[in-house]
Each structure stands twice: as structure tokens, then as C-alpha cells.
Amino acid sequence: MAQSDRRSLSGPLSFGLVLPLLIIFLFVFCWPIIKLLGVSLFDPAFTLDHYREVLGNDFTQVIFLRTFRVSLLVAALALLIGYPIANLMRSSPPFWAMVIGACVLIPLWTSVLVRSFAWTVLLQRNGAVNAILQSLGITNAPLSLLYNEIAVIVAQAHVMLPFMVMPIYQSLRAIPDELPRAGLSLGASNLAVFWHIILPLSRPGVLAGFLMVFVVSLGAFVTPALIGGPSSMMLATAISTEITEKFNWARGATLSALLLIAVAVLLLIFSRFMQLNKLEQK
């Protein structure tokens, strides 16, 4: 007992260790967000007018719906592309699994700006995609592929892909080899084994990846700003426009608050769901 007391740091000492960073967080992270919420709620007396105005406005409704739709599609596309990558990583020998892991992690730690810029290079009028389409004879004039919703979805899915692959890979790796092997030896086809064993067991990873990509895409700023056009404006770009161009802090703050609430609610639901999932497994 005395030993374990000595091993763990005392309460006051632990608090002292945390204090410097805690002060920075309260001052630079918590306080500014509270202040921003205050701007959306006080003008100067307490009011919900800003929320009424933003939620009743056709233009912002369109932006909210588009942001949700685009983020859902981004998550779906990332899942479609990411699952096979995670699956390949799982079924590869250690060396190749490591190489694939590096291919997934390097983009994650490369500037989002650089990756979005790369998409403008790929999709522009005299870019690589148009060059390939023309040389294959699919089109005979360059298409305008940039500044629309589809371009935003593809580029954002690319930016978010590592967040999809990693959790799926984690849950695939946790599946004991015996399970699919038993299925195969009992005469099930590869497809049946995948459908009835692998896919259900990888559900936690799929859910975690999907939610992560969806939630982060809701607030994505860089890629939609560079790849999207006015007709595909998303929430983050709208917030930035309200504040830096229209100087309408009340509206920008209200939109920010709504985004923050959406993210928080989604994460809360998800953490409940994951706990239930864990209980189920026990």
C-alpha cells in the first residue's frame, strides 16, 4: 500500500503538472469559444434572434443541407475506397502491410493545402484527368471539373481517407484468423465469409471511421474553399465569409455555434453507441 502510494504522483503534484497547460487551454481554447457563443446569444441583451434568423433564412438552410449531404457522401466514398485498402493491409504479409501503412500515413501528415492544391492540378482544364479523358477519346474537349460539388466530395474524401483506413484496419486486425478459416473449411465461399464474418466484426471500425470522416468534413474549410465554387459553398466557407468579408460577427458566431452543437451531439451519440457495442461484446 505504501509502495503504490509512493509510485503514483500525489493529487496536488499531478494538478501542479497539469496547471500550466490548463491555464493556456482555458485562456486560448475554452474562453474564446465561450466568447464566440456569447456573440451569438447576446446583442447586447440575451436573445435568440440570431438563431431564428439563421435557421429561418433560405440561403443558410441550403448551406446546412448541402454541408450535411456533401459530408455524408464524403464519408460514403471514403468508406468505399478505404475499406479495400484496410482489407488489403490486413491480408498482406508484415512488410507489405507496413508499406501500405506508410502510404496511408504519409498523406495524413502532408499539408491539407498541398493535397487540395494537387486536386486543382489534377482536375483543371489542362490537368491530368482531362488529358487522360481526351487521349482515351472519352471526350474531345476539356471538361470543367473543378469548382463543383463532385470535385469537393472526391478531394475531401481523399483528404479524409487515412481517418477511415486506420480504424477499419484496427478492427480487421482484431479478428482472429481462425474465424474466417473455419468458415472457409466448412465450405463457405470467400464472399459469404466476408459478408457473414469479416464485415459484421469490422463494424466498430467502420462506424468509427465513418463518423470521424463525417464529423470532420462538416467543419472542413481548406478543401471546399479551394476546390469548391460559390455554388458548392459549405458551412465553414460561409462562416469565414460572414466574418472576414461581411464583418457580420453575430451571424458567423451563430453558424459556428450550430456547427459546434452538431459535432458535439454526433460525438455524444457515437460514444454512447460504442459503449453499448462494448457491453454487447462482453
Binding site: 503534484l13 503538472l17 485498402i85 493545402l113 494537387a118 490537368g127 467543419g219 465553414a236 462562416i239 459556428s256
Partner: protein
């Protein structure tokens, strides 16, 4: 046994494999495409490039409009990495080894910047710092980026602490070392690879951070991501491709360093 190898070559597994490989191609192409563009001679970005030149790199390294933001970002990122390494390690120690009151709440707040929407954090910080007249100051950038980068240090150092043996520190203390010296000479060397990895992540997060920088930058004091952003919005030139190439290879180099350190750590761990 032969049955399994037969199954492995089935059509469905071939399709799955091909889909995985195509996925990796999709992942990598936008990461490498900037390299040939940065070496092509065309004034307007063009693919495939016609010819080879280092003109854009020369332009980049001879232009104050690019060098200043680069230096500014590097200065901020180094300070952020150092501060985050010190403060992040202190928090990781308290969380993994200490009886910290309200542990859950503290960790939740300190990891929140990873998942909080960058745009909201950026706008909120802009609101506060501009009211204080600190917008564009190096202090504001360092404080803001420390908040965004420190979660990565907390995570890597906590992981390193969880795998290093707390009894070693206890042994040193029972032999008469003070708590600080036991940490300094026993635990710190053990967690060093994790700590340096965290520092590298913190450096990259700060150096590449685009959203908060977008709002905090002023006309004179801007970070490299903000400068890239401006160039992409107004006059896309191959110089951006040159910067992108440097950034990409910089990240790859730093990640390679982390991988080597991690490998050293696991080897040391297995030897112990």
C-alpha cells in the same frame, strides 16, 4: 491446405485485392503529382509537363515574399514543438502516473482540439486575439498552435509511459534518488523516442496549420500556409508546386525519423 490456396485465388479475392490497390493509387497520386509539376517549365500548371527546370525552386528561394513566411512558420513551429513537449509530458505524467482530480474532464478538454472543427476554433481565437490587439503576433500564433499541437504529444508520451515500467522509477527512489532525479535519469530516457515523436508531430501540425493561421495572419506577418492559400486563390504558379514538393518530402523525412525512433524503442523494449 490446397483448398485454402485455391480459395485465395478466387474471383472475389482478386476483385478485393484490385480494389485495395486502386485505393492506394488514389491515395498516392495527389501526393506525388506536385513533383513533376514543380519541375516543368510551363508558366501555367500543365500535365504532363514539357521539359525540366529548377527555375521555380530558384524563384522560391530567392523571393522574400516566400522566404519570410517560411522563416516565420519555422520559428513558430520550433517554439510550439518545444513548449508542447515540456507541457505535454507534464500532463501525460499526471494522467498516467498521478492521482489527478477530474482526470477524465482534463483529458477530454486537452484532446478536444483534435476533433473540434478548425473553423470554429480559428474564428474564436481570431475574435479574442484581435480584441486584445495580438492578432498576427508571434505570441498569438505560438499559443494557438500549442493548443492544436499538444494533444499529439500527450498521446505519444502517454503511450510511451504506459509501456515503460513505473517500478524502475520506484527502484531509483528507494535507492535514494529524488522524484525529479528518478524521472530525469530513469523515466525520461525510456520515453525519449515517444517524446521526440510527439515533438515532430507537434512541429508538423504547427508548420502545416492552415485554418487558425488563415484568420490570425496579418499582411506583414503571415505563416507559410496562409501565403500558399493566398497564392492559390489569386495567382496559381508552379512556385506553389515547388513549395508543396518541399513540404511533402519534409513530412516524409520527419515521419521516417519517427519510424526509426519507434523501431529503436520497440527493440529496446523487447531487450529489457
Amino acid at each position: 491446405m490446397s483448398r485454402f490456396s485455391l480459395k485465395r485465388l478466387s474471383v472475389s479475392s482478386l476483385v478485393a485485392r484490385t480494389a485495395g490497390i486502386l485505393g492506394i493509387v488514389f491515395l498516392l497520386i495527389p501526393t506525388v503529382i506536385v513533383v513533376p509539376i514543380s519541375l516543368g517549365p510551363d508558366r501555367y500548371l500543365r500535365f504532363p509537363p514539357r521539359g525540366f527546370t529548377l527555375e521555380w525552386y530558384n524563384k522560391l528561394l530567392g523571393d522574400q515574399a516566400w522566404l519570410q513566411p517560411m522563416l516565420f512558420s519555422a520559428k513558430i513551429a520550433v517554439m510550439v514543438a518545444l513548449i508542447a513537449m515540456v507541457l505535454g509530458t507534464m500532463v501525460a505524467l499526471a494522467v498516467t502516473r498521478g492521482r489527478l482530480p477530474a482526470k477524465k474532464a482534463v483529458t477530454m478538454v486537452m484532446l478536444a482540439p483534435i476533433i473540434a472543427p478548425g473553423i470554429v476554433v480559428g474564428v474564436a481565437m481570431y475574435l479574442m486575439f484581435s480584441q486584445m490587439g495580438m492578432s498576427g503576433s508571434i505570441t498569438a500564433f505560438v499559443l494557438a498552435h500549442t493548443v492544436l499541437a499538444v494533444p499529439y504529444v500527450i498521446i505519444t508520451v502517454s503511450a510511451a509511459l504506459a509501456t515503460s515500467d513505473a517500478d524502475l522509477e520506484l527502484a531509483a527512489m528507494s535507492l535514494g534518488a529524488s522524484r525529479f532525479n528518478a524521472f530525469r535519469y530513469v523515466t525520461l530516457p525510456l520515453i525519449m523516442p515517444g517524446l521526440i515523436a510527439g515533438g515532430v508531430f507537434a512541429f508538423i501540425v504547427s508548420f502545416d496549420e492552415p485554418v487558425v493561421s488563415f484568420f490570425l495572419s496579418s499582411v506583414h506577418d503571415k505563416t507559410l500556409p496562409r501565403k500558399i492559400f493566398e497564392d492559390l486563390e489569386f495567382n496559381v504558379s508552379p512556385v506553389v508546386a515547388a513549395v508543396s514538393t518541399i513540404l511533402t518530402f519534409g513530412s516524409i523525412g520527419l515521419l521516417g525519423l519517427v519510424a526509426v525512433l519507434r523501431r529503436g524503442l520497440s527493440r529496446g523494449g523487447s531487450a529489457a
